[in-house]
Symmetry: C2
Subunit: 562 residues, 2 copies
Amino acid sequence: MKVIIVGGVAGGASCAARLRRLDENAEILMVERGPYVSYANCGLPYHVGGVIEKESSLLVATEQTFRDQFAIDCRTRCEVVGITAEKKTVELKNHATGTVTTEHYDKLVLSPGAAPIRPPLPGIDLPGIFSVRTVPDARQMREWLERVAPPRSGMDSYTGYQTVTKPQRAVVVGGGFIGLEMVENLVYRGLEVTLVEKLDQVMPHLDREMARLVERYLEKHGVRLELNDGVAGFQNVTDGSLEVLTSSGKIHPADIVILAIGVRPETALAKMAGIELGERGGIRVDEHMRTSKPDIFAVGDAVEVRDFVTGQWSLVALAGPANRQGRIAADVIAGRDSRFRGTQGTSICQIFEAAIAQTGTTEKVLKRLGDTDYEKIYLYPNSHAGYYPGAKRLAIKVLFRKSDGRVLGAQVLGEDGVPKRIDSFAMAIQMGCTVYDLEEAELCYAPPFGSAKDPVNFAGMVAANVLRGDMSLSHWDAVNHALLLDVRNANELAVDHVPGALNIPLPKLRERLGELPRDREIQVICASGQRAYYATRLLQQKGFKVRNVAGGMLSRSHTTPG
Amino acid sequence: MKVIIVGGVAGGASCAARLRRLDENAEILMVERGPYVSYANCGLPYHVGGVIEKESSLLVATEQTFRDQFAIDCRTRCEVVGITAEKKTVELKNHATGTVTTEHYDKLVLSPGAAPIRPPLPGIDLPGIFSVRTVPDARQMREWLERVAPPRSGMDSYTGYQTVTKPQRAVVVGGGFIGLEMVENLVYRGLEVTLVEKLDQVMPHLDREMARLVERYLEKHGVRLELNDGVAGFQNVTDGSLEVLTSSGKIHPADIVILAIGVRPETALAKMAGIELGERGGIRVDEHMRTSKPDIFAVGDAVEVRDFVTGQWSLVALAGPANRQGRIAADVIAGRDSRFRGTQGTSICQIFEAAIAQTGTTEKVLKRLGDTDYEKIYLYPNSHAGYYPGAKRLAIKVLFRKSDGRVLGAQVLGEDGVPKRIDSFAMAIQMGCTVYDLEEAELCYAPPFGSAKDPVNFAGMVAANVLRGDMSLSHWDAVNHALLLDVRNANELAVDHVPGALNIPLPKLRERLGELPRDREIQVICASGQRAYYATRLLQQKGFKVRNVAGGMLSRSHTTPG
C-alpha cells in the first residue's frame, strides 16, 4: 500500500508517524511545499519576539528524523501541483530542480493547512508588511526588525536632538490569536504597537463583553486599540517607513506591519481533485476524515469540523484537533474504525502576564443559532486562597442549558490559574457534565493552587442556584425598570456606585426590610454577586420579587451595552 | 426549627451559612471550642513560614460576620460537653465564664474535625514540640521561632568564635501533607530540617515509587530524610535545645519539633451520644450526612466517607469535601434531597518550586483490595511545548482498568503545570472517563501552557495503546528474564545505561533485526518510553515477542524495587 501525505506540519506529520506505527509495510511519502516539516508554527510569534531565541528550537523533527526513525520518504520543497482522483495519481513539483513527476497512491491524505488572508489592498506588497505562517516568515520579520528596517529620523522626545532609530512603531492588523500573540511579542521587543481590528472586539471567538476585558488589559499594557476600523491600504513615506490607512480615514505610521486578519483553508488541491467543499469553505470530510473522493482523506486547518456542542460545521485552526485528525486518518487507512468526535474549540492565549481561554460554545454562537435555552453567569473568584500571596482575580463566564443544566461553554481570563480552570471546563463539556456535576467536582486544593471551593465549583453552585430556583438572575442590560439595591458597605460605595441605587448594607438588611417595595422587582448588587446572593435569598424568602445582578459591580462596566 | 452546629471551621461554617440561605427562619447556633471560627487552617504552615505574614489574614470570617450577615448565633470558646440524643439536648460549656448551660435542638450537626495524633511518648510535652491545628498553635510556633527558643551556643563554622544563635535545627515528625508543608516552610525560614517518618515513604497516600521522587526532591532542597524510623521520645539537652530519639536508636538534635504524625477523627461527642462509628474509627454517616441517631448529622474530617473509585470507607481530611458535606447537611435539614457522592481524594501539595498531586485511587490501595484488573503507565512529558522557555518535566503515573479502560487514578509531580493536569484527571475520574476519552480530550494549548498533545492526551494514548494490544507493557520489576534492548543513541548511553542491555539505536533498528532473538521476549527501553514504543510497534509487526518498559530510563531508579 502506498500512501501519499500532502503537508508535513501538524496534521500531516502526525498522520505519517502514526501510520508507520500501525503499518510497518506501508510505503509512505510525505511531501511539504516549504523548506521544513513538523515545525512549531505555534511558536513563531514568540520567535519574532525573541522569547524563543533560536530558530532551530522551532524545528521539532526534520526530514532526516522521518526517514531514519519512521522509514518515511519525506520531501521538502516538494509541491503537489495536480491530483487525478480517477487515476489515483498526483503530480509532484520539486522546487529545487523544477521537475514535475507523477506518483501513484493507494490512499492520499491532504493536510495543506490554512493560509493567512492577504486582501488585495493598495500597497499590500510593500516591504515591511508580513504574515505569520512559516519559519521563513518569522526569519524575515526578525531580520526586518533587527537590520533591514529603514532607520527613521525623528526628534528624541527627551533630548530634543535629531536621532536615527531602529523600528519603533508596529501596526498589527487583526485581533485574533496570532494578532494578539504578535502584539505581545512586539511590545516585548520594545515597540509601540497599534492593533487595528475591523470588528468591534478583539478575539472574535469570545463573547464581546469578555473581549472587553482583554481590550482593557491590552490598553493597560500600552497597546493602542483601533476597533471598528478596517485597513484600506498601505503606503510608503519619504523617511522610508510605512503608513497604514484605514476605512475611517485614519493614518497609522508604522515601521513594521503584521497582517493577522485570519486564515482561509487551502482548498486549491481539493478543488483540483473535484472534492466537495463545505458551507464554510473548508474541505468536507466524514467522521473518519474521508473526503467525497474515494481514498482521499483530509485533516487539519483545511477541513470543516463539527462543533461538538452545537453540531454546526465550523473552521477551527488549532493544533490539537489537527494532530488528532491526522492520527484518525492514519487509523482508518490502516483499517481501524476511529472517529473524530468533533471539536469544542478549547483555546488559550497568553497576553502579557494574563491568559484568556475558552472552551465549548459562546453566547454569540447560541444567539446566532436562535438558541434561547441557555443562561449565563459571571463570576470573579480568586485564582487561589485569598490569604495566600499572589492570588489574582479571575473573570469567568459560563453558559449552560436552562432545561437540563448541561455546561455549554466557558471563558476565563486572569493572571493566574487559567489553564487549571479552562481544562476542568473542557473535560466537563467533553463528558456532558451538568452544572450540578461542577458543584460536586473534587478539584485539587492547597492554598497556593486553589480554594476549598474552587472557582469551577463556585461556577457550578451559582448556576445550580439559578436552575433550582434559589436565585433569579438579572444582567446589567436589564436593570432599567427595577429598583437597584446595593448591599455593599459605605466605604465600598465611595469608590464607585450606581447613581440612584438604594444602599442597604447586607448586615442591616434584615432590620430595614420595611424600606423595600413589595410591588416592584428588586435587583440586588454587591461587588461580585456573593453578598447579593445572600440578600436575594433573604428577600425571596420574605416574599419580595428579587433578582441578583450577575457578577455585581465587577460585571457592570464590560457587560453593560454601549 | 433550632439547629445547633458543633464546630465552626470548614464543614460547620459552610453548613451554617448554607442553612441560613435556605431557611431564613431557622434558629441557628454555631459553637466553636477555640477562639476563632472559619479560619484558614490550610494556611497555618505558611503563616509559620512567614509566607502569610499576618495572622489576621487567616481569619476568613469572624463571629461578627456570622451574626451580622447571617443572623447566626455564633459562640467561640464554647464547647459541647454533653449530648443527650433522646432528649435532643446538648450541654454547652462557656470557657470564658466556666458556666454550663443546656440547649435544646431540633437538628444537631457535628463538625468536630480531627485532632493531631500525640502519642504518649517520653518527653512529648516538653516545650518546643508543636502540633499544627489552630491559629494559637501557629502563633506559639512563630513565637518560639522568633523569641522564646533558648539561644544555643556553638562554634560559628566560619569564624571559629563562640556564638549565640536563633533556632536553626528543626525536626518534623511525619511526612504527610502537613509534615511536608511544615518542612517547606521551616526551610524557607532558614532552618536545617530533618524529616522523621516511620513508614518507608513520605506522603503515604501516594504510591511508593512516586513518593521516591518527592523524597529526592526534598533531599535536593537540603532536607535530611529519616525514613523507616519512628520517634521513641524526646529529651532536653543542657544547652536548652531538644533531642528527638528514634526507634532505631538515633538522636536528632532540634531547636523545634513539629509533630505531624497524622490526625484522628474527634469522636468523643459522637460516642457520648451513642452514635455509630465506622470501621476506620470515624463517624458513620449515610449519603445525606445523617448519623445513626435521628436528627444528628456529622460532616468534615470526623466522618468516614465512601471512596468514589473503590467504594471503600475511608477517612479523608480535606477541606473541599468538608465544605461540600456541610452544604449537603444543610440541604437535607432544609428538606432537600442532596447526596454526597463520595470522595476521590483529589489533593495537591506544594514542595518548594514543585507540586505533587493525586486523584482517584492508587496502586497501593488496589493491591490491598486484591484488585488485579488494572494496568499502570508512567510518563514524563514536558509541562508545555519544549521549545518555549520554562518547560519542566512532569512525572505522571496513571492507573486504569484493563477490562474497560476506566481511569482509576493519577499522580502528578512537577515544577510547572501540575494543577492543570490533576484537575483534568480529577474531572475525568468523576465523570467515569476511559483512557479513550483522555486520548480525545480537547485541552487548552498554546506554547506557554501546554502541547498540542497535552500530557493528559498523551497518557490516554499510551494507555489506549496497551488496551488495544498495540503495545505490550513491562515494568522495571519484571525485566529479569528478557533481553533488554536500548534504542537510544550512543551519546545518551554514555550518561547512563543498563549493564547487559543490547543497544541498537532506533534509526538502525530496521537494518539490524537479524541481531535480535525470536525465541525470547525482548523488552525495549529508551529515555521515556516514546522511541521504545516506536521500536515495539516495529518489532511486534515483524513477529518478535516484545514489550515496552513503561517510562524507560526515567522510570528506572524509582520504580525498581529495593
